[in-house]
């Protein structure tokens, strides 16, 4: 029988994380802690180890902790991961208290100009992510987490959902492809997640399965009613099924595209101009619009190239997307600027809407602004601009 198990990060250069080993104590359990914050939180760390093991019904285990400034929710997650690796039949979780300050309100049609990806097993990025004011946070359990750490990442993300204030960003989790993703949804849905991203969706049945699970959980009171779904199209099959996927469930609020995987799947090379994915991106936009959900584009991977990011985001906006993904907080503000109407655009939109209102009041169906005919679609676009501007104001 296995006598010890560990979890966490042992790299001496690590920050805001820890390494934990638990072992069957020969007699009385003893905990050993080394910490760079020992002088400040040594006693608190010892107390938290005791209470966490107790919550996991594992008070008989000894823990060795090498701490590099892990916050309490992280220390608890690492301990739980180690205990579960030693004792897979551990039933009860050790949950950190819900952060009363964390705001968790979202809406179907809220802004999703930026969604900031956070690797699900890297807690140091969690705590300040919301300060950069992305419209949404994505706690990622999929591509950024190595297979051997999926279990630990899921526990860490669950604790973060409860403990971390993301300052009003929509808090989402990218789970792994089904069926693994379903277990992750079941585990995380009760803890404050607002939407799940489903990666590499190729079939509307995947969306329906996630929808059913969430409906069952809501019915039995395990999870709130409103948890949204955002399928990601990342393959040729997925692109061909975009419309059935986008319209598979009323929980779907957006349809996203992941271009790294998509271009690989179709045997293309990803270029800055993106000609190779134009069809798929247009397909996603049309499917999303047809289903009444937001089309969302991929990520721009050169973090240092601010001008390139702005140009790319501008092109995506003009193509019809409502937002893009971000892989670094620095990208958020650049993208927001692109997706926020300029003062001139707002002014023009206001004049169109006003002129149209006057025209309607006086019984005219059509009116001209600046010598150009204003009809229903033009008015609709102007209203959209004004609504976007209204939502974008800080």
């Amino acid at each position: 029988m296995q006598m010890t198990a560990s979890a966490g990060v042992r790299d001496p250069g690590a920050r805001s994380d820890c390494w934990v080993e638990v072992s069957q104590a020969p007699d009385l359990p003893q905990h050993r802690v080394t910490s760079k914050v020992a002088a400040l939180y040594g006693d608190a760390i010892h107390a938290l180890i005791g209470s966490t093991l107790e919550a996991l019904a594992a008070a008989d285990l000894s823990a060795t902790v090498e701490d590099r400034g892990a916050l309490p929710f992280t220390l608890m997650a690492r301990l739980e991961a180690a205990v579960r690796r030693l004792r897979p039949d551990t039933s009860r979780p050790a949950l950190p208290p819900l952060n009363p300050a964390a705001q968790r309100v979202t809406q179907r049609d809220r802004l999703r100009r930026t969604r900031l990806y956070l690797p699900g097993n890297a807690p140091k990025f969690f705590i300040n992510a919301g300060l950069h004011r992305p419209d949404a946070i994505i706690l990622d359990l999929e591509d950024s987490v190595p297979p051997a750490e999926k279990d630990a990442a899921a526990i860490l993300v669950r604790n973060a959902l409860r403990a971390v204030d993301f300052y009003g960003a929509e808090v989402t989790v990218r789970v792994n492809s089904l069926p693994a993703g379903l277990a992750e949804i079941a585990m995380l849905a009760p803890h404050g997640v607002q939407a799940f991203l489903l990666p590499k969706v190729e079939d509307p049945d995947e969306v329906i399965a996630a929808d059913r699970l969430l409906a069952e959980m809501a019915e039995s009171g395990q999870a709130p009613e409103t948890i949204y779904l955002i399928p990601i199209i990342e393959t040729a099959r997925g692109a061909l099924q975009a419309w059935p996927i986008a319209s598979a469930s009323p929980r779907v609020v957006a349809l996203a595209i992941g271009l790294e995987d998509y271009t690989r799947d179709i045997g293309a090379q990803r270029t800055p101009e993106g000609r190779e994915s134009l069809w798929a991106r247009s397909q996603v936009i049309n499917a999303a619009r047809a289903a009444g959900v937001q089309p969302i584009s991929s990520v721009y991977s050169d973090v240092d190239d601010v001008a390139g990011l702005a140009a790319w985001a501008e092109a995506e906006r003009k193509l019809g997307f409502d937002g893009v993904g971000c892989i670094h907080p620095r990208q958020v503000r650049v993208v927001h600027q692109v997706f926020t109407p300029s003062a001139a655009e707002v002014e023009q939109a206001r004049r169109i809407v006003d002129a149209f209102a006057v025209a309607q009041a006086t019984g005219l169906g059509v009116v001209a602004v600046d010598g150009k005919m204003v009809d229903a679609p033009v008015v609709e676009r102007a209203r959209r601009t004004l609504r976007l501007w209204e939502l974008s104001r800080p």
């Binding site: 805001s16 760079k36 002088a39 400040l40 608190a44 400034g69 620095r330």
Partner: protein
């Protein structure tokens, strides 16, 4: 056990340091000493070669001729930062001469001086009277150093020499280039480092001045940042500094999104508070946040068409860019942090070398620091009354020098940029572990979670009413950071022994640093 007394800041401080009586801190601008400056001994040209050739054959010989003896005070500057190759040679030569109990009086120490712990152990160096960074600070914190560290700012160090608080027997001045007469230039040679201002007081007030260089040029060595008329001897060695560790080839902007956020808030604050206006001035260092602040503010100046009259450095390529693109009339430079800074100082007449005398000396007839419209500084801790610490960490360990930090607090608007917590270490405290700067001189604290304005600055509140900047109280920021970190941190376990004192800019004692009881030695 020597006596202690509570000073005007409410801190208990010793009445005696290293056997000499000291004056407790009395408040900002309250201590008015009388008397006259110190002065070096009178010398005659007849004692020096008429042809101006003061070159000594070796470092050992130069120290011998200088009369090196037990207990002497040896001073040095830190313009070579972590690339100092000279002081290890100086102490090796001193060891060769068999002396003991030297006092080292550097303007700052760096990790490259860690090997001097062996000299502290052997008794060659009795104690170090100066800033103690990193490894040397840790060593002193553990109570292992004989004597007490006296932590002074750059201006405070100048003042201590000028006022005679510290008497230097032998000043050793590392020069990137020098001539045989002793003129030194900081912008020529392999180890070019920029200005040499930190060595000015040493050259003026030491009994004996030795210039050491690896680049001897024919007279005159210009621009002379130290004048040969103050110099007794010149020594040529193979290398004085490691260029790669003196200045960075290029200073790079931080990629830390949190640092960038703090820097951006600080720059927006300076703009929105109306400090950024034609003819204004500011100072910001080369740390991650300060550098980013300079870049953000530069962009805002460009957008608004605002030109500064002068910017005080630590010069970097970003400051040089502001000068060269017409966004400031002058750079007043205390030290260059990268090669662009060195190049600009050498080639651009609007890029001027300054010293702690011109910029920071509190016992002068004014200094430049108080002329600044704003300064951006860091800190290791800030308390809810805006008092700040820059030398110890919350665990009590002495890990940083004061630098020009205290001196710069006298700017019209002093902005501290700090994270509200680092890893799991809260930075905003009820009371700072070590007091280095009185809260009345700190106007604004900028964190990633909001900006706190000192209640004394109601004018700033008024200007910023209706601003979109996240204005909050320090108490709120403290509570939020503590909630994240898991409650208020425990206080460090300190011992009875005072291992160092923090000197205020006027030479009075602001606070003391206690020995830390290390984990595991409970």
């Amino acid at each position: 056990m020597m006596g202690t007394i509570e000073n005007a800041a409410g801190r208990r401080v010793p009445t005696e340091v290293n056997g000499k009586p000291v004056v407790p801190y009395q408040g900002v601008g309250c201590y008015m000493p009388t008397g006259r400056h110190a002065a070096p001994p009178i010398r005659s040209c007849a004692q020096y070669p008429a042809d101006g050739n003061k070159v000594a054959p070796s470092l050992v010989e130069a120290l011998r001729r200088a009369g090196l003896a037990d207990g002497m005070v040896i001073s040095s500057h830190h313009h070579f930062r972590d690339g100092d190759l000279l002081m290890p040679q100086v102490f090796a030569a001193a060891a060769e001469l068999g002396v003991r109990d030297l006092v080292w009086f550097p303007s700052a120490t760096f990790p490259c001086h860690e090997s001097f712990i062996a000299y502290l152990e052997s008794g060659l160096i009795h104690h170090i009277e100066g800033s103690l960074n990193g490894p040397l600070g840790r060593y002193a914190s553990q109570g292992k150093m004989a004597g007490q560290a006296v932590l002074r700012s750059h201006g405070g160090r100048y003042r201590a020499l000028q006022d005679g608080d510290v008497h230097v027997d032998i000043a050793v001045i590392a020069a990137p280039a020098a001539d045989a007469f002793g003129n030194c230039s900081g912008v020529l040679g392999r180890a070019a480092c920029g200005p040499l201002g930190f060595a000015l007081a040493d050259a003026q007030y030491a009994d004996h001045v030795i210039v050491v260089t690896d680049t001897l040029v024919p007279f005159p060595c210009v621009p002379w940042h130290i004048q040969g008329n103050l110099v007794d001897q010149v020594v040529l060695v193979e290398r004085v500094g490691d260029p790669d560790r003196i200045v960075s080839g290029t200073t790079r902007l931080t990629r830390s999104s949190d640092q960038l956020l703090i820097a951006e808030y600080a720059a927006r604050f300076v703009r929105d508070a109306g400090i950024m206006r034609p003819g204004f001035s500011f100072q910001a260092g080369a740390g991650g946040i300060s550098l980013a602040f300079t870049i953000f503010l530069g962009q805002m100046m460009r957008e608004a068409g605002v030109k500064a009259r002068f910017i005080r450095g630590g010069s970097t390529r970003y400051l040089v860019e502001l000068l060269e693109t017409g966004l400031t009339d002058y750079i007043l430079d205390g030290q260059s942090f990268d090669l662009e800074g060195v190049r600009s100082l050498r080639d651009n007449p609007a890029h001027l070398a300054t010293s702690p005398f011109t910029s920071y000396n509190y016992h002068g007839k004014g200094n430049f620091a108080s002329l600044l419209d704003c300064v951006v500084l860091g800190a290791t801790e800030v308390d809810v009354d805006f008092n700040a610490n820059v030398v110890t960490h919350s665990d009590g360990l002495l890990l940083h020098g004061i630098g020009g930090w205290q001196d710069a607090l006298f700017a019209r608007c002093t902005i501290l940029t700090v994270p509200s917590f680092r890893d799991r270490v809260p930075i905003i405290r009820d009371r700072v572990t070590t007091l280095c700067g009185p809260g009345e001189l700190v106007d604004v604290v900028v964190t990633e979670r909001g900006i706190a304005i000192n209640p004394r600055r109601q004018d700033l509140f008024a200007v910023l009413a209706g601003s979109s900047l996240p204005l909050r109280s320090l108490q709120e920021l403290k509570s939020e950071a503590e909630a994240i970190c898991g409650g208020p941190p425990a206080l460090p376990r300190t011992g009875e022994r005072t291992i160092g004192v923090v000197s205020w800019v006027d030479g009075t004692i602001l606070d003391r640093v206690q020995q830390v009881i290390a984990e595991g030695s409970k």
